[in-house]
């Protein structure tokens, strides 16, 4: 029994959400449904913990590998495994999902069963995306994540949900098509769908460029990079709380993950040719996202635009092609998932009370909701990368990484940090300080125990990683070094200070 469990841990992690969905179909009653969903996600989180404990940081290749023939005619396998790049994203997904269930406890009033099923579906699909070793499997589940998100937005979203959902689907589909083209192009040339074998295969020079561009566009739309970002504020702000958390916390990371998993190892030369372009685009995204956030009056849109800025840091780190930059980028993805997830959770807690996302409707919350304001302040300072939070570690590593490329990027990216401080503190000032501006804001109640449980683990994670990032960075170290070595050997990257 234990062998079945231990040898197939990843398959169990993939199966558990689907078992949960099956169970949800049978369970009756509202409380039964939410408890089943919560238990499923908690079991998943425990499995993820087991995965993390058993993970060997020294190993640079894949661990917990499982392979099975699926469609032998096309060379398509069911193959999963984790390495230093994916383990943290798997953990992040497993941690955020129970909190999403908790956040939807009271706020989802209609079709609870369907909603919980969708959360579990996203979770299961994400697990496969982050662990897939087969490009076809990866792409299939990549597509699957889109469907539950669409329904979450359209069925439980805000007033403008239909347009937002449509925009989300159109963007995602466009991205997926590019991705499909890229992956088919890869596998036709390399004659395999196995992701690890794809890296070593030979590609004709002219096709390299086009496959890279197709893959890059696919990932860039999901990430999203400038100028493909306009789906994000709409989708984030119209989605229900759990939807926003999943979108910002996990789904965006598929883009960054794809860049590190596909673009860098498979096409090091093309990547480094494109690097200046991507780096400048990242800088533009960092500053532009910051300015956008500064102009918002809607809480959720503000957080959404801040994601654009933070994702700019991720691509900045990835395309500096050294350990500092890439590890910083992965950490930034994880930490952005935590912080932005938490910010969406907290905005959702306010929305549950007043059904308003406008900052003008709040003010002076420190009086009626001291606990809320204390926790919100933690995530606000984390979001603009105050030292001693994990965000700072991520951003610092990215800045050091990109400083090997050119110092101008460091200086410009700093502008994004200042803008971050500006929009976040102004948000805090308008929402939490001063006197309440509306009658509704005057009569608010502070966070309940359930709501505290929803956000406190994230606060602990943010400061825990910020103060002691060692184990997390160590977990990525050998795998990232493996990627970076390709660039070093080809003489494509500078990885030591002058």
């Amino acid at each position: 029994m234990s062998a079945i469990f231990a040898d197939h841990l990843l398959s169990w992690m993939i199966a558990v959400p689907f078992i949960g969905i099956a169970a949800l179909a049978i369970v009756r009653g509202r409380s039964g449904i939410v408890i089943t969903a919560l238990v499923t996600t908690l079991v998943e989180a425990l499995l993820a913990l087991r995965l993390w404990i058993g993970f060997d940081s020294a190993e640079k290749g894949m661990q917990y590998v499982e392979r099975m023939e699926w469609m032998p005619t096309f060379g398509i396998q069911y193959a999963v495994g984790v390495d230093g790049i994916s383990i943290l994203l798997v953990l992040l997904t497993a941690v955020l999902c129970p909190l999403c269930v908790l956040a939807s406890w009271n706020s989802i009033t209609t079709r609870v069963r369907a909603f919980m099923m969708l959360i579990l579906l996203v979770e299961g699909a994400m697990m496969v995306v982050f662990t897939a070793l087969d490009a076809f499997l990866f792409f299939m589940l990549w597509e699957v994540t889109m469907i539950p998100m669409y329904f979450m937005i359209v069925l439980w979203g805000g007033p403008d949900r239909v347009a937002a959902g449509l925009k989300f689907v159109l963007y995602s589909l466009t991205g997926s098509l590019f991705l499909l083209v890229g992956i088919l192009g890869l596998s036709l040339q390399a004659d395999t769908f196995d992701i690890q074998s794809l890296a070593g295969a030979a590609y004709s020079p002219e096709s390299q460029l086009w496959i890279f561009v197709a893959l890059f566009l696919g990932f860039a739309i999901k990430l999203p990079m400038l100028p493909f970002h306009t789906w994000l504020p709409d989708a984030h702000s119209e989605a229900p709380t759990a939807g926003s958390v999943l979108l910002a916390g996990v789904l965006l990371k598929m883009g960054g993950y794809g860049l590190i998993r596909f673009c860098l190892p498979i096409f090091p030369e093309v990547s480094s040719q494109f690097a200046p372009f991507v780096l400048w685009l990242s800088i533009a995204a960092i500053l532009y996202g910051g300015y956008m956030a500064l102009a918002q009056s809607d809480l959720k849109r503000l957080v959404a635009y801040s994601s654009v800025s933070h994702m700019g840091f991720v691509t900045l780190g990835i395309f500096s092609f050294n350990s500092e930059g890439i590890e910083g980028a992965i950490l930034q993805m994880v930490t952005h998932g935590i912080t932005t997830g938490a910010l969406f959770l907290m905005v959702g807690q306010l929305y549950d009370r007043t059904h308003s996302r406008s900052m003008a409707d709040y003010g002076g919350l420190h009086k009626r909701m001291p606990r809320f304001v204390a926790v919100l302040s933690l995530f606000v300072v984390a979001s603009f990368g105050l030292p001693a939070t994990s965000n700072f570690i991520g951003e610092f590593l990215i800045l050091v990484g990109v400083s090997y490329e050119h110092f101008i990027f460091v200086v410009l990216a700093m502008g994004g940090i200042v803008l971050g401080a500006a929009y976040m503190l102004w948000m805090l000032q308008r929402v939490a300080l001063g006197e309440p501006r509306t009658e509704a804001a005057r009569g608010l109640t502070d966070l309940s125990v359930r709501e505290m449980i929803t956000v406190i683990p994230l606060a602990i994670a943010v400061f825990g990683i910020g103060v002691y990032p060692g184990p997390f960075l160590e977990a990525m170290d050998s795998t990232v070094l493996f990627v970076v070595e390709q660039f070093e050997q080809a003489g494509l990257a500078i990885t030591t200070p002058e």
């Binding site: 449509l166 925009k167 689907v169 159109l170 963007y171 589909l173 466009t174 098509l177 590019f178 083209v181 192009g185 096709s207 086009w210 100028p227 306009t230 789906w231 300015y291 956008m292 500064l294 102009a295 918002q296 050294n322 350990s323 500092e324 590890e327 910083g328 002076g364 420190h366 009086k367 001291p370 105050l386 030292p387 001693a388 570690i393 610092f396 590593l397 050091v400 990484g401 110092f407 460091v410 700093m414 502008g415 940090i417 200042v418 401080a421 500006a422 503190l425 000032q429 939490a432 300080l433 001063g434 006197e435 002691y468 060692g470 960075l473 170290d477 970076v484 990885t495 030591t496 200070p497």
Partner: protein, 672 residues
């Protein structure tokens, strides 16, 4: 783990305890914080004795980062400079916490106040002990956060929370410079470990001077922010929105000293770049003089003190810039202790006078007034050592340049205006009698400044100057291993007193006399330009207004414009219009190609087939004809099916998907 880790851990533990259980401990937070901070003070004394006897102590904690070639080991580096700062920080913290335990009675956010001040003490002690520049930066920012939280203590007050945000933002802009400086230092030295950097700098590293200049100036940008040097000085007066004990602790005695501390800590690096030294000296000098004049014109006691703090910090920066690092630290310590004391003694008076110099309330006791004046004097006196023996060649060496003379004159000018401020503040606060009585030509003479007092003050002054010089010559020896040597400055620290020191004292007394003579005199006789100058300085040189008009508003306007015009107007509209555009393309395809071409063709084929079938009927009337007719009909039906295809939402989507799929397939076909 060393016992000295307790210095930050005690206040840190207290801070977390009070923060977590504050609501249950309402009103008793100080009972946890005071012992912790006092304990930290006693451990600091132990550290002082240890350093005095055994020299530098190094404590290593743990490895924060080990990524690629970047290794960051956290640890403490306790040398003579550090212990002095530790004594200042923990000592002042203890006194201020004891004071606050009374001052904050009944405050609604009692626990929050004590938690944050304790956190601040922990952060500042870590900052001064840090052996790694990244650790320094981390706690540099944490101190800024504490400052933010304390300025917004009276969170319902508009001026308070607006000030808090502004203070944090001004600092975060400056801290960008600091972080860039940290990364540059890493590039230049290959490490962030402070002792290693210092020994490399002392041994003479092979780093181009322009790199050193760049990194020094970047680090100095951080110091400009934290120590309120021009042009970032605007935040310190705003910070006076915090409760008065905080003004004493953070915004006068400790946190603001981080700038000069950083300069002295990295002095062996800084002295390698004469350009950077010149810039530092110039900014310090300008700040010192400007703030001294502004403080003379302010009507609010706390704001006067804030500008006087800025001025004195400018003086410290000036001292660093001319290479007088020991004197800078000496001034820093003296100013820190006495300014804290000054703020605390003001705290009580302020409650009575509602912060306004011009509206004295109850007559304060003479002794308290004397203490007040004395503290004010002491807090500004120590820089005078710069004019004493060892430093005279700073001004009068063979390269006696115009810049040196300018700095010298500015230094003396600052002394003059500072003396005026002291006199004015003291006389205003302790003016005898209610203001209503001083109408007409009746001059109200402050009792504090009778002849007897003046003589007494002069005697005390002489004694103090001698004492200061004595302390200073000890300090110069004690600190010498920690500081970089710019010239032969610190080589002869014990040459002590010289006649040069009489010059600034004389100028100071002149300033005092001018202010005293002006007390109570009406300003009606002043000329126009004098009035304008006065208004200029009264408005603090219009820095706040300039920043508001040229930086803050344009930034917000730009953000709004970018969002409306670029994001909504161009990018989003373009993307959204792709939807209708694809629908239009599909519709065109449907109308022209599908209906116009294929459908017509099919229909034509169909009807032809029917015709053929009918004709065949003539010949054979067999199965062939019927079958052909069937095929024709079927084709006809299939050809007409698209007509039922109304452009509804779902169908739109499908059409777009099909369209893109076709594009992608074409693309794919081409690359394969």
């Amino acid at each position: 783990m060393s016992i000295y880790t307790l210095i930050p851990l005690l206040p840190l533990g207290a801070a977390f305890t009070v923060a977590l259980f504050g609501q249950r401990l309402q009103g008793v937070g100080h009972r946890i914080v005071i012992p912790a901070v006092a304990g930290s003070f006693f451990v600091s004394i132990a550290a002082f004795v240890d350093v005095l006897e055994n020299g530098t102590i190094e404590v290593s904690l743990y490895r924060l980062l080990d990524v690629g070639s970047l290794v960051v080991d956290l640890g403490f580096f306790i040398d003579s400079l550090t212990v002095l700062l530790l004594l200042l920080v923990t000592g002042v913290s203890t006194v201020v916490q004891v004071y606050s335990s009374r001052y904050m009675i009944g405050d609604a956010r009692h626990s929050r106040f004590f938690a944050v001040t304790a956190l601040f003490t922990a952060a500042m002690t870590i900052l001064v002990m840090s052996s790694n520049l990244l650790l320094t930066f981390i706690f540099w920012e944490v101190m800024g956060l504490c400052s933010y939280l304390l300025i917004s203590h009276y969170a319902e007050r508009r001026s308070a929370y607006r000030a808090a945000t502004k203070v944090f933002l001004v600092n975060s802009i400056a801290d960008v410079g600091l972080l860039i400086g940290v990364i540059l230092t890493y590039h230049a030295f290959g490490t962030l470990n402070i002792p290693e950097i210092l020994s490399m700098a002392k041994a003479g590293v092979d780093i181009p001077t322009h790199v050193i200049t760049a990194l020094t100036l970047c680090l100095f940008a951080g110091a400009i922010g934290k120590s309120a040097q021009m042009p970032a000085h605007v935040w310190l007066p705003l910070a006076m929105e915090a409760p008065t004990p905080v003004s004493a602790l953070i915004h006068a005695a400790t946190m603001v000293n981080a700038g000069p501390f950083l300069l002295v800590r990295l002095s062996p690096v800084i002295v390698l770049s004469p350009t950077a030294m010149t810039v530092i000296a110039a900014i310090g000098a300008v700040t010192a003089l400007f703030a001294a004049i502004v403080s003379l014109t302010q009507t609010d006691v706390k704001r006067t003190l804030a500008y006087s703090t800025i001025s004195q910090l400018g003086f410290m920066t000036l001292l660093c810039g001319v290479g007088a690092f020991v004197a800078a630290i000496f001034h820093l310590l003296a100013h820190g202790f006495f300014k804290a004391f000054l703020f605390l003694s003001t705290g009580n008076i302020l409650a009575a006078t509602h912060r306004h110099v011009e509206t004295p309330g109850e007559e304060p006791p003479g002794s308290q007034g004397a203490i007040f004046a004395g503290a004010l004097l002491l807090s500004v006196l120590p820089p005078l050592v710069i004019f004493s023996g060892p430093y005279r060649h700073l001004w009068l060496s063979q390269n006696f340049s115009a810049a040196n003379i300018a700095l010298w004159i500015i230094g003396l000018g600052t002394v003059f205006f500072t003396a005026m401020t002291i006199a004015k503040t003291a006389t205003s606060v302790f003016r005898k009698g209610p203001p209503g009585a001083s109408d007409g030509n009746a001059r109200v003479m402050p009792t504090l400044f009778s002849v007897k007092h003046v003589v007494g003050v002069l005697l005390a002054l002489g004694a103090l100057v001698s004492l200061l010089l004595l302390v200073w010559s000890w300090l110069a020896v004690f600190l010498s291993p920690s500081v970089g040597v710019a010239s032969e400055v610190a080589a002869a620290p014990s040459s002590g007193f010289s006649a040069w020191i009489l010059l600034p004292i004389a100028i100071g007394i002149a300033g005092w006399a001018v202010a005293y003579a002006g007390t109570g005199r009406r300003r009606s006789a002043e000329t126009e330009w004098k009035k304008r100058l006065y208004v200029f300085f009264l408005n603090k040189g219009y820095f706040d207004e300039i920043y508001d008009v040229y930086i803050v508003r344009p930034t917000i306007a730009l953000a709004g414009w970018l969002w409306r015009v670029i994001d909504q107007g161009i990018i989003d509209r373009f993307i959204v219009s792709l939807g209708p555009a694809s629908v239009n393309v599909s519709r065109w395809l449907w109308k022209v190609v599908d209906l116009g071409l294929i459908d017509r063709l099919v229909v034509a084929v169909g009807s032809r087939s029917v015709g053929v079938a009918q004709r065949m009927d003539v010949f054979g009337r067999g199965r062939t004809a019927k079958n052909a007719e069937r095929v024709g009909r079927a084709l006809d039906v299939s050809g007409r099916t698209p007509q039922a295809f109304q452009p509804r939402t779902l169908q739109h989507d499908l059409l777009i998907v099909v369209f893109w799929l076709a594009v992608a397939l074409g693309f794919f076909y081409w690359i394969a």
